[in-house]
Symmetry: C2
Subunit: 225 residues, 2 copies
Amino acid sequence: MQKMVRFYMKFYAYYHSTAAYRIRIALNYKNINHELVSIDLMAGKHHDESYKKHNRQARVPTLDDDGFEIGQSSAILEYLEEKYPEPALLPHDIKKRAWIRYLSQIIISDIHPLNNSGVLNFLKNLLNQDQSKIQLWYHHWVKCGFDALEAILTDHPDCKSFCYGDTPTFADICLIPQVFNAYRFGFPMNNYPTLRRINEHCLLLPYFEKARPENQTDCPLDEKK
Amino acid sequence: MQKMVRFYMKFYAYYHSTAAYRIRIALNYKNINHELVSIDLMAGKHHDESYKKHNRQARVPTLDDDGFEIGQSSAILEYLEEKYPEPALLPHDIKKRAWIRYLSQIIISDIHPLNNSGVLNFLKNLLNQDQSKIQLWYHHWVKCGFDALEAILTDHPDCKSFCYGDTPTFADICLIPQVFNAYRFGFPMNNYPTLRRINEHCLLLPYFEKARPENQTDCPLDEKK
C-alpha cells in the first residue's frame, strides 16, 4: 500500500504582486509543492479580517508551512533556502552570499517599497497627486535603483548569464519581477542593457516563465498573453 | 616580538542614519573592531564621487571588509552574522530565524524606505508638499508598520525582554533605531506599549547605548545629551 504523505504548504499571493512573483520563482526552481490561495488585491481582499489573521500587515505574500506563517518576501526566500537548500539560490561562500543579498536588497528595500500600490494610492488619494506626478515619482525611484544596479553589474567579473554567476540567485529572483513592474508602468529600459540581458535570459527558463504574472491561474483572461 | 595583526574593516556611516544605527549595534554586540568613516549626509557628502565609488546608491551604510564592499543594512547584518557567528543575533532553528527576519523586514522594507530623508525631500521639493503633508505621510507609514508589529509581538509567547526570546536579534537591531526615528519626527508612541517596553529594555544595554546617534563622534555637540 502506498504511504500517504501529508502535505501542507499554503502560499497566499496575487498574480501581479511583485513580491509574490519573487516567491513563485523560488518555489518553481526548488520544485516545492504548495497550494496557492489567491488574495484579490484589486478587490481589497487583503484587508479582510479573514486574511489579516494570516498577515497582520494585510500584504501578500504569506507563506504558511504547516501552520507556521510568515510574510515579507526576503524572509520567505531565506526560509525556503534554509529548508530546501538544493538547488541553491545562494552560494556557500559568505562574501558571495553577502554580495547577492546586497543586490537583492537594492530592489527589495529601495525600489519596490516606493512603488507598490499602497504607496501610489496614498500619493493619489491623500496627497492629491495627478497621474503625471505619480509617474514622476515612480520613474524616479526605479531609475535610482536601476542606475545603481546597472553600474554595479556591468563589467563586474561575476555577472554572467545571471546577476551572479551561471545559476540563478536571490538577485535574479528580485530583478525579474521588478523589470516586469517597470515595463508595466511604462518605465523606459533602454539605458539598462545589462539588466535587460539578464531579464531576457531568465525569462527563457521554465521556472521563471511559469512564475510570470500572466501565467497564473488568478490572472484575468484579458491580461493573459 | 609581538606579531603585527593587520586589521581593515571600514564602516561608512553617519550618526543619525537609521540604517547605520542598526549596524553599529551589531558591531558593538559582536565586539568587531572597525574604523568609522563619517559621511556627512546633511552636507551632501554621500553624493561625492569619492564616496559613490564605495556605494553606487550614494547611501550609508557601507561596510568595507578588507576591500570587499557592500551596502544595504540587512545584507551587512547577515554578513556579520555569518562571519562572526558568536555572540549570535539569529538562533539556529530555521523557523525562528525566519520569524526574526520577518519582523526585521517589516521595518527594513516597509517602514524605513518610506521615511528616509531622500523620500521626504522628494515630497517637499518635487511634489511641493508642505510640512503638514510630509508629517501625514511619515506618520501613516510608521503607524502601518508599528500597528502590525505591536499586534504580532503582544502576547506572542516568544516575545520576552526582546522581540524574540532573552537575547537580542536582528529584530531588536531594526526596532530600536526605528523607534528613535519615530520620536525624532514626533510620532506618538502611546499606542505601542510592547514596542516601548522592548525599546526601553534595549537602551539600558551597553551595546545599544553606545550605538545611539547622540553618542557618535560625528554627532554635533548641540544634539548630544
